[in-house]
């Protein structure tokens, strides 16, 4: 029972966060593959995936050796900072204060940087390899943090890796099928959900580190998820109200 209570939200958080990041990384790889050749795109991608796998293999078991209380407190604080950052940004987007992320705009922007007169380069192109490597590494770092943080503290590293891998496989399959930026993914809703989950985890782990008596024990994570979701809904309502009272025009989609 306890394992499923820990593993279920961990798998969900790892899956949803990874899905968002894989979609963003896929857009960059697609732009590199289209304009600098698939050899460069795949070389950069594989190199970045190799670095990320080393980080997970080294980071996860190393964290599990630290004293549990200190580990829970420090990981809990990092999860709070990471999760509440996503929650704030997704709430501002949902409230219409900042523009939604637009994968087709990202693809167009990357394409503009990568496009050169002439044909696609058949051999390895350093600029293409580096762009794919940087894109996959940076987006992947967020996935690695979530997998290690959510997995190591609750001793659910394997379920977290499973959730992230499943997301990666689905994005790759969809990418091969459509060969276009995955613009229909409700990215902001996913980011809001992940922000809520990670904030709830962070709060729970810090409370555990401080020996707080959580009502209902591990089940209180579900209550925390509801509380953070409620606060996000209140924040969205407040920002929408403020926007409509100022009669501001809708925000245009953005790259960041």
């Amino acid at each position: 029972m306890t394992d499923w209570i820990h593993a279920g939200p961990t798998v969900l958080a790892a899956f949803l966060a990874s899905f968002v990041e894989f979609v963003e990384a896929f857009t960059i790889v697609l732009a590199v593959g289209t304009f600098r050749g698939w050899r460069s795109a795949l070389t950069g991608t594989l190199a970045a995936v190799g670095v990320l796998v080393v980080l997970v293999l080294a980071g996860g078991p190393a964290l599990e050796r630290l004293p549990l209380s200190a580990l829970r407190f420090s990981i809990g604080l990092l999860l709070l900072l990471f999760g509440m950052r996503w929650l704030r940004k997704a709430t501002l987007r949902a409230g219409g204060v900042i523009a939604l992320h637009d994968e087709s705009a990202v693809f167009a922007s990357e394409s503009l940087l990568l496009r050169e007169p002439g044909n696609i380069i058949p051999t390895l192109d350093p600029a293409g390899v580096l762009t794919a490597f940087n894109g996959v590494l940076l987006e992947g770092l967020e996935v690695v943090f979530i997998v290690i943080a959510a997995g190591a503290v609750g001793h659910t590293l394997l379920p977290a890796v499973f959730g992230a891998s499943l997301a990666g496989i689905i994005v790759i399959i969809l990418g091969i099928m459509f060969r276009a930026p995955l613009t229909l993914v409700p990215e902001n809703t996913l980011k809001l959900t992940v922000g809520v989950l990670l904030s709830a985890f962070g709060t729970f782990w810090i409370g555990e580190a401080l020996s707080y008596p959580w009502p209902g024990g591990d089940l209180s994570v579900i209550g925390l998820i509801g509380a953070f979701l409620g606060s996000a809904i209140v924040a969205i309502t407040v920002t929408r109200g403020a926007r409509s009272s100022r009669r501001l025009p809708p925000s245009t989609p953005t790259l960041s």
């Binding site: 501002l92 401080l210 209180s220 924040a235 501001l248």
Partner: protein, 78 residues
């Protein structure tokens, strides 16, 4: 600065950016957690109050942080 130095600086900046994009918001979170961890045990609150006080403080930071950022962005945009 050497190429390695620039790469290290860029990597540190990217890792910090995973956790902080609004300094005031991050400062509020860290300050509240520090206050809860260091100060509240000395206040000798009834044990049943500690969990709700900690959680409500974080929820308030979410709402106030979003409200503050929205106000700042909308004021700048006008």
């Amino acid at each position: 600065m050497s190429v390695l130095g620039r790469a290290m600086r860029s990597a540190i900046h990217e890792i910090l950016a995973l956790f902080i994009d609004d300094g005031l918001y991050a400062f509020a979170i860290v300050t509240w957690v520090t206050f809860i961890a260091l100060i509240t045990p000395r206040l000798r609150l009834p044990i049943t109050y500690e969990t709700p006080v900690f959680t409500v403080g974080l929820l308030a930071i979410v709402v106030l942080g979003v409200r503050h950022a929205a106000h700042r962005i909308m004021t700048r945009g006008q």
